[in-house]
Symmetry: D2
Subunit: 397 residues, 4 copies
Amino acid sequence: MQKKKVRIGMIGYKFMGKAHSHAYRDVPFYFDSSVEPVLQAICGRDEEGVKEAAHKMGWNSYETDWRKLIERDDIDLIDIVTPNNSHAEIAIAAAKAGKHVFCEKPLAMTLEEAQEMLKAVEENGVMHVINHNYRFSPAIQWAKKLIDEGRLGKIYHVRATYLQDWIMDPKFPLVWRLSKEVCGSGSHGDLAAHSIDLARFLVGEFKEVSGILETFIKERPIVESSSGLSGNASSDSDTYGKVDVDDASVFLARFQNGAIGTFEATRFAGGNRNGNRIEINGEKGSIRWDMEKMNELDVYFHEDEPGLQGFRTINCTEEVHPFAGAYWPAGHIIGYEHTFINLIVDMLDSLGKGENPEPNFVDGVRNQAVLAAVEQSSETKTWISVEGLLNKSKISI
Amino acid sequence: MQKKKVRIGMIGYKFMGKAHSHAYRDVPFYFDSSVEPVLQAICGRDEEGVKEAAHKMGWNSYETDWRKLIERDDIDLIDIVTPNNSHAEIAIAAAKAGKHVFCEKPLAMTLEEAQEMLKAVEENGVMHVINHNYRFSPAIQWAKKLIDEGRLGKIYHVRATYLQDWIMDPKFPLVWRLSKEVCGSGSHGDLAAHSIDLARFLVGEFKEVSGILETFIKERPIVESSSGLSGNASSDSDTYGKVDVDDASVFLARFQNGAIGTFEATRFAGGNRNGNRIEINGEKGSIRWDMEKMNELDVYFHEDEPGLQGFRTINCTEEVHPFAGAYWPAGHIIGYEHTFINLIVDMLDSLGKGENPEPNFVDGVRNQAVLAAVEQSSETKTWISVEGLLNKSKISI
Amino acid sequence: MQKKKVRIGMIGYKFMGKAHSHAYRDVPFYFDSSVEPVLQAICGRDEEGVKEAAHKMGWNSYETDWRKLIERDDIDLIDIVTPNNSHAEIAIAAAKAGKHVFCEKPLAMTLEEAQEMLKAVEENGVMHVINHNYRFSPAIQWAKKLIDEGRLGKIYHVRATYLQDWIMDPKFPLVWRLSKEVCGSGSHGDLAAHSIDLARFLVGEFKEVSGILETFIKERPIVESSSGLSGNASSDSDTYGKVDVDDASVFLARFQNGAIGTFEATRFAGGNRNGNRIEINGEKGSIRWDMEKMNELDVYFHEDEPGLQGFRTINCTEEVHPFAGAYWPAGHIIGYEHTFINLIVDMLDSLGKGENPEPNFVDGVRNQAVLAAVEQSSETKTWISVEGLLNKSKISI
Amino acid sequence: MQKKKVRIGMIGYKFMGKAHSHAYRDVPFYFDSSVEPVLQAICGRDEEGVKEAAHKMGWNSYETDWRKLIERDDIDLIDIVTPNNSHAEIAIAAAKAGKHVFCEKPLAMTLEEAQEMLKAVEENGVMHVINHNYRFSPAIQWAKKLIDEGRLGKIYHVRATYLQDWIMDPKFPLVWRLSKEVCGSGSHGDLAAHSIDLARFLVGEFKEVSGILETFIKERPIVESSSGLSGNASSDSDTYGKVDVDDASVFLARFQNGAIGTFEATRFAGGNRNGNRIEINGEKGSIRWDMEKMNELDVYFHEDEPGLQGFRTINCTEEVHPFAGAYWPAGHIIGYEHTFINLIVDMLDSLGKGENPEPNFVDGVRNQAVLAAVEQSSETKTWISVEGLLNKSKISI
């Protein structure tokens, strides 16, 4: 049987571009999706760079102008892995051109922008997906199943931290990820957005939040070319510029179902390279997860026999665990990149069935509303209703 | 050389009374303090109970009226291990009677009460101590030394959780620990008070807080005699009463030195029997500690060689670790009760030197101010200044 | 009711003497044993030292000649905490004097000596106990119960390690613990004896063994007075003496029930201060235990639901866990010294009931037979039958 | 620059075939090797199966007769992922045909076979590689570097376990992996071979061994088609056949450099899905590694400051860690499949430089000699010299 193909046009080709490209290549190897991705074209402004990336990552062609990419007839889906400040313009243009849109998180610079994006994809009837890849680690999928089946009962607590440490050196330069103009925020949109998505996925919708955005190092060296990801870089430049995004974001939350949560995202937690962690306590059980040990899910059941109650450490690499059967025998662990493969195969399967997968732009908007509510809370020092912010918009979700 | 003796009169004899009694007995066995405790008298209202407790725990005598105990000439120090609502009255009376006062935490029902207590001990020139025992685990003492020596540098983050699960069963009865009249609060004064003390000890003074107190189970069975500590008790009583204290307390904090913190205390975190944990991140290093593995301190130094940076798990049972040398060879772990022994030997040493040890009623007041600020924040849904609350009082600390 | 009392005479007062003394003091505080220990007399050759120890540890009197202690009418039980080379002589004399005998491990210098000791206590009808204290951590007791109830099914594997590192410095002096004349062996009798006891307790009797005893540092500085326990001591003495005991002992074992085991005891495993660990795998489940986290037992059940199988980490501090209820609420951990308290209360309870408790000199002999078999195996480079060694003796056990 | 290409012909296409195929595909994506692999042809006896595998895994062609594959002019390297009993015949034929040979482990059924294979590749001057992939996890490579630089000093101890549990059900069928005719041995060649390789890589050559091979379940159901890898399969067949391979292999070892080791490989350690672990203790430091947490290396240095000595948990995902820089930012973990990618890129780089990489058939022979020595030891119940076995052969290595 000839498989249906979806021709991808990806804009951007750095860290996320690499992760997406690899995942497209691996999907048909591991899964039997009804839809197969074709790595049709990637796009970047630097012709040398994009040409080399296309070759190395296996793309059939390249473009240097994203508008041209969108216009191409041989592209079915636009994958946006550019910095945050271009998501909205590209996504809206892509939707208007009738292309499906797969966008990196956070969806946009502001809630308004996110809502415009959602409006565009809905009005143009295209598929829309946001890349909250951590949802797709088998352990989180398994936790979701347990929660949906009521195995934890009513949820009381969520505690999520996303701890990194790559910019703690005060001489770490003022890279684009530390620019409000480019990113909208710092750790908040980059890291807290992930925790918010995990909490929404596993617990439900946020009701209200109270939080702080904090910048510990207020000025940093300006350097010509800052790629921004290597953690130990240190600059000797003596020209300093203002850091206008947060180094850390902490907030409390009430959920619509009565759960309460604590959230912390920071780039200043020394010793934590990528500490994306979540714990959930319900009336019947609890779960714990840590991205740095992403194959493991700790699960506690109150109904276990007296004297034998304790967190079980489950290596979610068995056939029964979502997505895990496609890879290796039990105990042969998978890694970060597999979260992308799993999300993309899910997206392709949905495309094959004519459905719109999750997480999509609705999730992107709701996530952005939480981000925005925390930002407002940090400025006003009050609790902010997430629903209140959403209701100001005319788009119902 | 004949050692100086301090004759203890302890009021109350249940859980904390047992812990204190045991510690007094063990102090001379393990340490060479210049002052030796004499277990002179304990006091409780139930004569049968207190008599038996005196015998079992090795007290020389007993009383059934605490006022009589305070009046006794052969008592030098009053140790208060009663429920919170009697701390102030007893402590103030003891101070007026010229007795040293050692009081369980939280110091009082309210900030005002706490301040009255501080005023009384200061005016009467007696020694005053509050039992924040967790400070005295060797690992925490070691962390304090590292921080004081600047090994972590400027502190950025504190995250403290105190997670328990002993009242999650909705049929767990309305014991005295769930009564506002007796305790003032629930998990807040019981558990959060400990986290606040650890944070004050290791990081410094709180500036302001924003928080939530939450009661998940609003009514519980009323039973005649509820001792309140066994975690699996379940009642079939069909008379229900209102729970008027919090099941959980979560809050954000800003510290005077610029650090920010997240705090969570709860009795609804299934699978966590006594999860008293704290993590601190500074510019040069980090520490992590968990009471359930209290001998271990995880320490991270940014200055470690590239490629060899990681949290070290240090078993704080060596000669070099505070208090540890008094016990067993390295790796032979100590437990919960040793935190009491360590605090009490420190108190006795201070008494010998004519100094007032820490933590004392000043710490008690400052701790109470944080507790009060969170309570106000939970009601007003705003940030509350801790210094602001303290300044309203006329007692300078 | 007046409790029956047993008057203890303890010979030796250093590390083990301290642990035993403390336990005697704590037994009546925590437990309601029908028999109460009286700290009647301790004995040591150095009068100043033993006098001070008696005072500090709360003994009523002291002796400097153990033969005089044994002769005293006011002593019911002789507790032997001297170096190994005096166990036999003292124990046999005590038994002949009609005293109960409680002896430190390893029971003797040789299997023959151990058998003489057993013969003596049996012929004289006195109670006999050997101090394999680790059996008495609640987690191990709980494991025993699970195994006895068949929860692990038929046992396939045992792997036990006892890893220390306190003599790794080649300049660490030639202390008495490194003398064959005093101790009989090094890590073998000191550490492997504990692992052998745990394996015998949890799995059953050994059938045959094949092993190696190894001495990595063959000469060490001779110093005048070497107390031998502090791990960081280093000597500048330039007189060296031969180390005639093992630094490490490793062996394989077959058990009578078909299980196979690996054993390793060493003082050369850097970073392991007291790494007494055991893992057992049976047809239905597994357990894991580590003395440095002694409150925790990891338990795995194959019968757990698919996808939810994993080791549970159980904090064995609940009422349901053996001995744990006597101490603190769940999650408030106990330590090394509590293993002694638990063993001694069990011994006293047995004494009250007129029974001989376990582990006793039969266990001591069987343990010694395994030690001896490994020693023979190391010399002959063959497998040695443990039963074979025992059968050579005329004492049937 | 046009890269040199090496055209792969792979024989076999199941579990290992999948792992190898994936790795070939990923090498050029992640690395800039001077030699690029071309997935030229795979070979399998079942035409339908091999055709489908070729398509799914991206091979250009397929064969059903491995002799024809070897004869093809367009193949440069033969990759052998068949069951053990065909390794020798294929490898020798491939060598004679002038093809480079990359062979799965264990190299052969016997030491003699392994030596014949080594002779063939050496005489024909082709490159030869054996797939001990676990060496190539970044954490193990990092450990190797530390050891080579003397950071652990002289090595005293190695303890290696490879624990699995997929055949514990007595009704698990008699699959080919449980057949001596096909595999030569059970857990011994499958799992212990990996531990032996890690020990040889990190510690050095084995001197002598003493061990046991054990079969716990002696008969199993015979079924028509047993693929053999799913862990929970259970058969209702009432025809039983004899299991003629070991379920577990345990042995002691002395190394040429004086280190001693304990080794255990088993398929009967419930709760351990893929517990490939190794610990090494040297005079200056120690390391610990566990495949199920393969990104982490625990490292201990005795030279760390007093009071701050403890195992560091290092997430080996930084630029400085071998191979890690090719993947993702620090803390974004990799998995099992990356060990194959790393080994293969190393093989290709060697090929580009005209060198023969490690581990190669010399390693395969030496590994096989240890396997054979343990087998002999299990039969004779004596220690067997590994060098002794090797010296019987005329091939010097």
